[in-house]
């Protein structure tokens, strides 16, 4: 396994329980999608596995090495192999550096290449992510959002990492630009076998790019499955609700909406049982007693719902009125 995360817990100061006992793994060449709404803990997990945050509990194994408590010097070395791309390219690139220097920076930090070799490598990287050669002498404000995100990706892959965390990499981009970035990521993975953790709230994009998908609710995994299985046969009531709220960009597709009521629990004061029980249309008294265990449905597909045992986990959608 490229990445193996066991019982990950993160609590922010003030008692916010952002990540609550999360376990998953990613294989080489695999893209794992992480979906959930705001506050589901998906970005926190991205920061934890890249060790930009130190977890409160659990273990993180990267290429078999325990990186949970690595000291800063070892972490800096690690980051050549473990990279992250953020949502906002404007905020993640130094506005005072040219694109050329931004691309050389990771090489200067992690390789022994001399200046001429770094410049040559920066050119190759720019070409690989299809940035025009002329952009190397430009500054970030002179580039479009899509081009800047290509710079961020080029920086992330500069030292041939084994795993890249992509935290909403296309969410701030227009549709046609977004498609170009997704295509680039797809090519890079085919060429290099890089593993990816793709974090997004955009269900359609996650379905397109992921091999497997994990659904998070309040920092807990409610369901995981191969992408096609999850989207075609969601088992957990929350996954069913989430998918049914999505608006496919096709007026011919009828919406089958699940209506739920009730408030989302506060991450400061989480209930003892299933976090979704308070809003769940098929909740049982037992659901509020203890966290439901993950129940396997078929190979690679599991969901944390007590109702699966007798097959009563599927909730009836309300057919959308025209």
């Amino acid at each position: 396994m490229m990445l193996d995360v066991q019982n990950l817990v993160h609590r922010f100061p003030g008692g916010v329980n952002a990540v609550n006992d999360v376990s998953f793994s990613i294989a080489a060449g695999e893209t794992l999608g992480l979906v959930g709404e705001s506050g589901s803990g998906k970005s926190t997990i991205g920061l934890l596995v890249t060790r930009l945050l130190a977890p409160t509990g659990g273990t993180i194994l990267f290429e078999g090495e325990d990186i949970t408590r690595l000291p800063p010097a070892a972490l800096r070395k690690l980051r050549a192999r473990l990279q992250i791309v953020f949502q906002d390219p404007w905020g993640s690139l130094n506005p005072r550096m040219t694109i050329g220097r931004l691309l050389e920076e990771p090489l200067a930090l992690h390789t022994t290449l001399d200046s001429a070799a770094r410049i040559a490598e920066a050119r190759r990287l720019a070409d690989r992510v299809r940035l025009p050669a002329a952009s190397l002498s430009r500054y970030p404000h002179e580039l479009s959002g899509g081009q800047l995100q290509r710079v961020s990706i080029a920086r992330a892959i500069a030292n041939r990492p084994k795993l890249v965390v992509l935290d909403e990499p296309t969410s701030s981009l227009d549709l046609s630009v977004r498609a170009g970035i997704l295509q680039l990521l797809d090519e890079l993975q085919r060429e290099t076998g890089i593993a990816m953790l793709f974090i997004s709230h955009d269900l359609e994009t996650v379905r397109l790019v992921s091999h497997r998908v994990i659904v998070l609710y309040l920092g807990r995994i409610v369901e995981q499955a191969p992408a096609a299985t999850l989207f075609d046969n969601p088992a957990h009531p929350y996954t069913q609700v989430l998918l049914s709220a999505h608006l496919p960009p096709d007026p011919a597709m009828r919406l089958r909406r699940h209506e739920v009521t009730g408030e989302i629990p506060s991450p400061i004061n989480l209930p003892p049982g299933c976090f979704f029980a308070g809003r769940c249309p098929v909740a049982l008294p037992a659901c509020t007693a203890a966290p439901p265990p993950a129940i396997a449905l078929e190979a690679g597909h599991s969901a944390a719902c007590l109702r699966i045992a007798d097959g009563t986990n599927i909730i009836d959608p309300v057919e959308e009125r025209a």
């Binding site: 498609a179 797809d186 709230h201 379905r207 709220a245 496919p248 960009p249 007026p251």
Partner: protein, 325 residues
């Protein structure tokens, strides 16, 4: 009944650069569309296409350095561009209202929700006192805010994003306007909350026979909440028509590219579209503005394309529109 009629609208900005030369950005280049009572019209396009600018112009909110060299905007038969500020103030917030993207920065943080709703009515003389409070509370109930009586006392910071967006819709509708313009009303909201907000807006449009213009970059919102759609590119409407028709038979290459860029289509057909940058508004080419990105472009596209009607309600500004249909 025709509420809003925008015809051949042009908007430009003159800006003095660092070299002290004045240059003109042509942001809108001939925008025409209509909104009738009882319908939701979607205005869709990418960043910089001119969607929000069109909304501001329709509300009569454009000020220098924006200039309107050409075109007309009629609301309920009145010429918006000829009206004074005082006349505009009488219809804005009263006959036409706007819902913007960032709900929390659009509410006064120092006033309770109920007081803000009452003030909207007092300013426009629609109701005051106990009657205004009763109407405010009823409006909160209409946008499906739970426990409206208690929420009247809430401060804006106590509301979630979805709740605040519904309060903004309530503020826009409390004076019973004929037209509501919603600029990216659900961008930034979670999908489950987005659905609730859009349901609220649609139900109110139906119940009160409002006209609504919804500005969005999300084709899913257009597909399921709008009856008609206008697609914008570089300050022009490149295609317009009934939603089902435009999605099933997109005639403009830009509309086709937008639809082909959705993840669902990519999964079916692979990556077929290469994105590009929109034309430089300071130095617009003549002819079709989509020409440089268009796979179908020919020398004919050096001339500006007229809107070609494919049927009574569906048209596209492309010399080859009839080939796609």
């Amino acid at each position: 009944m025709r509420l809003l009629e925008v015809e051949d609208l042009h908007v430009e900005f003159a800006a003095r650069g660092l070299d002290n030369r004045v240059r003109v950005a042509r942001a809108l280049n001939g925008v025409s569309f209509t909104v009738d009572a009882g319908e939701v019209v979607g205005l869709v396009g990418e960043t910089g296409a001119g969607k929000s600018l069109t909304a501001l112009a329709a509300m009569g909110l454009l000020r220098a350095p924006a200039r309107i060299p050409q075109g007309s905007i009629r609301f309920e038969g009145q010429d918006i561009l000829a009206m004074s500020d005082r006349e505009l103030e009488k219809i804005r917030g009263r006959r036409m209202a706007m819902v913007v993207q960032s709900p929390l920065t659009s509410l006064d943080p120092l006033k309770r929700i109920g007081d803000q709703l009452v003030r909207m009515q007092r300013v426009h003389g629609t109701a005051r006192g106990a009657e205004a409070r009763a109407r405010a509370e009823a409006m909160l109930a209409a946008v499906r805010i739970p426990d409206p009586a208690r929420r009247m006392q809430a401060w804006p910071h106590e509301l979630s994003g979805g709740m605040a967006q519904r309060v903004l819709i309530a503020m826009a509708l409390v004076n019973e306007p004929a037209l509501v313009i919603a600029d990216e009303p659900t961008t930034g909201l979670d999908v489950t909350v987005q659905a609730q907000v859009l349901d609220t807006l649609r139900d109110l449009v139906r119940a009160r026979n409002l006209g609504a213009l919804v500005i969005t970059h999300d084709l899913g919102v257009v597909a399921h909440y709008c009856q008609r759609v206008a697609v914008m590119f570089a300050g022009r409407i490149v295609e317009d028509g009934p939603v089902a028709e435009v999605f099933a038979r997109p005639a403009h290459p830009y509309t086709q590219a937008l639809i082909a860029s959705t993840p669902g289509r990519i999964a079916q057909l692979g990556y077929t579209v290469t994105g590009g940058t929109p034309p430089d508004l300071y130095d617009l080419p003549s002819g079709c503005l989509y020409r440089d990105r268009c796979p179908r472009a020919t020398t004919a596209c050096l001339a500006p394309p007229p809107r070609i009607a494919l049927d009574a309600t569906h048209g596209a500004a492309c010399h080859y529109a009839w080939e796609a249909a």
